[in-house]
């Protein structure tokens, strides 16, 4: 009896001692992530009772989130683990805040579902700083009703940009309020079109800008052709995001992450249909991937172990299943895609999600973020150049000037 009590007592002390590892987690965009984060934490703690996950109050957006992490790091109160935008973890890396993950990764990364393409999302100079937790790429949203009205059909929908531009012009001619096509004049959309032609914005070692190539000119030229031939009026991002679900925009290149929002917005007025972005080259095609990544910030060895357990859980198939089912983002783990037992039923019910996620699996690639203190600032300059090109400025000279400007600003020269 006495020994029984003793062992119960030991067991109790053991669990309390084990449960003392607390991991503080930061995330942003509660409108998308709040419930998913709670589910991930609960599922993880159920499997790992020795770790307690504490979720910080979320930041409004990824920009705010990074700001807060920087502030907290100055004060020494940063969380142990943080979800950040896929294009923003480099800011933390640049300040030396992220812990390299190579020591934690299993020897056979592919077997764990981390394909080289997916790992590339969180690598810089061959060091793994982040792991993708959710992914999105540029897809083509189509309004089938408008396509049919314009004399086209979803069955023989054009598979190249020439066909799409031709269709866009026909849809555009349907009425004053009807727009044929729209694409945001934005760094990430541009990188996506560039990738469709097999181009890259920069050299791998970030020593030079490479979008002033034939592929770059073709990609930037598409903006101009959309406008001049396809009748694209330069809707702002938020205007286009209102027009498509309202049923007045025929085709819309946008992030796959907006699928749920558009389906809700269209509210049955038409069948929101997702197609892959046309692939215009034989090889080197990739689509820069947006979404979120997770980074480790703690430098405490004991906490690092627990933090890694959490990270590998949320980036593993179980965690990714939760992410996909609740956010509509594409998963950043190949097992969850390949093994029907995880998401087979989900994709059966959501063909649009399948189309979007298949593109991630096939062509996911890094969203290049430009190095140095001007890294974010130059993306706005790229956007400005795309506005000019759309409005009719000469493609070759504008893009060449832009590349030169970037080389100067980024200190590549």
């Amino acid at each position: 009896m006495k020994s029984l009590l003793l062992s119960v007592g030991l067991a109790l002390t053991a669990t309390t001692a084990m449960a003392e590892t607390e991991i503080r987690v930061h995330y942003a965009i509660p409108t998308i992530w709040a419930e998913t984060q709670d589910m991930l934490a609960d599922a993880f703690m159920a499997a790992n009772p020795d770790v307690k996950i504490i979720i910080d109050g979320p930041a409004e957006g990824y920009a705010d989130g990074v700001q807060r992490l920087l502030r907290e790091s100055i004060a020494g109160t940063e969380p142990d683990v943080a979800y950040v935008g896929l294009n923003r973890w480099r800011i933390l890396e640049d300040r030396g805040l992220t812990q390299p993950l190579d020591g934690f990764l299993p020897a056979d990364t592919a077997a764990a579902g981390y394909t080289p393409a997916l790992l590339s999302l969180g690598q810089y100079q061959d060091v793994q700083h982040a792991l993708g937790t959710s992914a999105s790429t540029l897809v083509l949203y189509v309004n089938p009703d408008l396509v049919t009205q314009a004399g086209g059909s979803m069955e023989d929908f054009p598979t190249d940009f020439d066909g799409i531009i031709e269709l866009a012009a026909k849809i555009d001619a349907l009425g004053d309020n009807i727009e044929g096509i729209s694409i945001g004049r934005h760094d990430w959309r541009f990188q996506s079109l560039l990738g469709s032609f097999g181009g890259r914005p920069m050299l791998e070692d970030e020593s030079d800008i490479t979008f002033d190539s034939d592929e770059g000119m073709a990609a930037a030229g598409l903006y101009q052709r959309f406008a001049s031939e396809g009748g694209m009026s330069s809707l702002s991002e938020s205007e286009a995001r209102q027009s498509y679900p309202a049923g007045t925009l025929g085709m819309f290149f946008e992030s796959s992450s907006l699928l749920t929002r558009f389906e809700e917005g269209a509210d049955g007025r038409f069948d929101v249909t997702v197609l892959g972005t046309p692939v215009s080259a034989e090889e080197n095609v990739y689509f820069p991937t947006g979404g979120s990544a997770i980074v480790m910030l703690t430098d405490d060895a004991e906490k690092q172990a627990a933090a890694w357990d959490y990270m590998s859980f949320v980036t593993g198939p179980e965690g990714q299943k939760i992410v996909v089912e609740n956010t509509g983002y594409a998963p950043a783990n190949s097992i969850v895609l390949e093994d029907q037992s995880y998401l087979g039923a989900y994709y059966e019910a959501n063909p649009n999600a399948k189309a979007a996620h298949a593109q991630v699996a096939a062509h996911a690639g890094p969203w290049f973020s430009y190095p140095g203190p001007q890294g974010v600032a130059v993306t706005d300059q790229i956007a400005a150049a795309l506005v000019e090109v759309t409005d009719g400025a000469d493609v070759t000279s504008t893009i060449n000037d832009l590349a030169e400007t970037l080389r100067l600003e980024l200190g590549m020269k």
Binding site: Q67, L69, S233, S234, S236, S238, V376, V387
Partner: protein, 293 residues
């Protein structure tokens, strides 16, 4: 001696708070303005006036400056002028139809009381090129629909109109108070002196008597106009292609999106000095010109 000590004790806490929370941050900002400090970085380099030459020398910096000036040049006179016009209208209306005048006063004041971000959303919907009411009306009257927020040549003026719309109500209230304070015998005197039209009475009595109010309204409107930020942040993000970039939005963007704390500090310093200068000039004019009593 004892008295001095008590005085010090009374003044001390407030003085320390002012030093800690006002003077120190300002000093830090001024120092940062001469460095390339990046938000979150552990060190920074002294780069002299590079930040300032970038602001005044680069295309983007100059665009933000000129946009802000154009915006202010439209908003200040229009908002003050319409505010005065509406105030005079409502002031006269209140003598004959006080109920309707009170209702209209509330209507004009609504934009002032409402949250700008919420209003920005409704403006975005109204101004939407294909779905918006405004373009629908335009085409109903046979006018060419416009891309109010995505046309580079138009966006700044659209924002300026919204800025005027937003501040007219506030100026109107200030002018109404000013009008109520004008002694009615002055209007009688003007009439007896031979001012027959309302126009003549306006120039002889109303306008000069509103001098101090007008000056105050101008200062307030100028300060808000130069600080234009919310509409830009909520509706255009400075775009397209920096066409609606303004100085405070650039300050926000450089500091909190690009994390260039040094450059953002330089913008802050310039902006602060400009506003200080403006206020000083206006105060001088107020003292000289419209000080009747």
């Amino acid at each position: 001696m004892r008295k001095h000590l008590t005085d010090l004790m009374l003044v001390g806490p407030a003085a320390i708070l002012i030093v800690v929370f006002i003077f120190m941050p300002v000093a830090i900002v001024i120092v940062l303005a001469f460095t390339d400090y990046q938000f979150g970085a552990s060190s920074a380099n002294w780069i002299g006036i590079d930040n300032f030459s970038t602001l005044f020398g680069s295309k983007i910096g100059r665009k933000a400056l000129s946009n802000t000036l154009i915006y202010a040049a439209i908003v200040i006179p229009c908002s003050v002028g319409f505010g005065l016009l509406v105030a005079i209208g409502l002031h006269n209306l209140s003598k004959t139809l006080p109920r309707i005048s009170a209702i209209l006063r509330t209507v004009y004041f609504l934009p002032v009381a409402a949250t700008m971000v919420a209003l920005a959303v409704s403006w975005q919907m109204l101004l939407h090129p294909s779905l918006g009411l405004i373009n629908n009306w335009m085409s109903m009257f046979g006018l060419q629909p416009q891309r109010w927020l995505s046309d580079r040549d138009l966006v700044l003026y659209t924002l300026a109109v919204i800025g005027v719309w937003q501040s007219v109500g506030y100026n109107m209230v200030l002018f109404l108070a000013g009008l109520a304070a004008i002694p009615s015998t002055l209007y009688d005197a003007a009439e007896v002196d031979g001012a027959q039209s309302g126009w003549a009475k306006f120039w002889i009595v109303t306008w000069p008597m509103l001098g101090p109010t007008t000056m105050f309204v101008m200062i307030v409107t100028a300060a808000t106009a130069f600080r234009i930020f919310e509409t830009v942040a909520a509706m255009t993000g400075g775009g397209p292609a920096y066409a609606s970039d303004t100085i405070v939005y650039a300050l926000y963007r450089e500091g909190f999106v690009y994390f260039k704390a040094g450059y953002a500090s330089a913008i802050t310093v310039v902006f602060f000095l400009a506003l200080l200068l403006l206020t000083a000039i206006q105060m001088l004019i107020v003292e000289r010109k419209v000080h009747y009593r």
